[in-house]
Symmetry: C2
Subunit: 245 residues, 2 copies
Amino acid sequence: MSSNQLGDRVFCSINGRYGTLASLTSAPETRVFPLGENLSFEDGASIGIPYFTACRALILKAKAKKGERLLVHGASGGVGLAAVQMGRELGLHVVGTAGTDEGISLVKATGAHEVFNHRDPKYLKNLGTEKFDIILEMLANVNLDKDLTLMNPRGRTIVVGSRGPTQINPRNLMMSESSVTGVALGTSTEEEWAELAAHVVAGTESGWVKPPVHKVYSLEEASQAHHDIIHSKGAQGNLVVRVTE
Amino acid sequence: MSSNQLGDRVFCSINGRYGTLASLTSAPETRVFPLGENLSFEDGASIGIPYFTACRALILKAKAKKGERLLVHGASGGVGLAAVQMGRELGLHVVGTAGTDEGISLVKATGAHEVFNHRDPKYLKNLGTEKFDIILEMLANVNLDKDLTLMNPRGRTIVVGSRGPTQINPRNLMMSESSVTGVALGTSTEEEWAELAAHVVAGTESGWVKPPVHKVYSLEEASQAHHDIIHSKGAQGNLVVRVTE
């Protein structure tokens, strides 16, 4: 490391090639960033993937423009909440969805202008008649067909997560000339990593990057953490495993 | 009209608000273009929608770059053949598919580097292992799920036609960060019409715009023409109705 000194508090954004449950790790200098005094190491563990992914989706893929309407479809998880904070910072009108009362409260507290329960059978009606320029989709296999009907002309749905196949009607992309695009943080070029880092590190300094940590586990509880994230009945921010005291 | 004079041979690109079976029509000046002496009126009738749509799809939506690999999925119809000619003009490697021997011959004769029969159960294998940067999809309800597996990183599938819902696996968009975008010529702005016209009219002058006319019907045969296009067992270019002798 050159810009960082031995003993500096840092966070990093690296693909988990060897997993992240380690007390020591190595990372290229370009993926290591200063962790401000106002952020804990648990916060730091919640920045690398969620904020960089939200940034890649909103800025590099959707090319978000101030004043546009953003729907974060599944907003109470790590990437979703980061997207809500970043959407506000970019001057978007941010609408979120979550599946539990706790999730809805958290998405509201995180700054969404409006939040709806996507488990309410009437939630599409509740979303109103005004459509969206950008949709960040966390569970495409459940929501994608609906997303295609929720986009403004030239709307962009960015697929952040999907757990299987789904049925859609491609005709709904045609008259609106809207699009569906996948996002994968790991495909970033070095230039893109630098651009993402510039946005996120600036956010840690100005203060809008506030990672929502839901629960901290000890290393012994790591398998429970994995169980909880897969079987979650509704996300409420990041789950963090603390490796050393 | 100002740039065109009374009696000039012209073609036009207009949305068929009142249909196109008429001996007289009106069109805004910005949608009327000179028809070179080397082109017949039947040719002219086959330029407005197919070439402008192919141009909108390839240049404005897919942002085609020289040397990219293009798959025209369903290449033997009016838009498909226009896309093959335009793809060659843009310096793309053009692969087409068609469903009949006649269609395949026509797509080859029109300039595609390679042509495959999409009714051959092994055609995906025949396409080889090299993927595509751009796919122009004429029948998304049949092919879209396959298209998602045929794209290079940051590949773009442009949906030109679809006749119903279909199942896809959104995960295939994620690692490649590829996209699916709809196209609708009628949504073009005036600036875009001008840009499309510049490309297509230049093509009528330099000669690469050669509309493939499959059959010419009399006005009395118009209903047969509609029947034939809907029940076609495999397109072979444009069907034209001649309104006046």
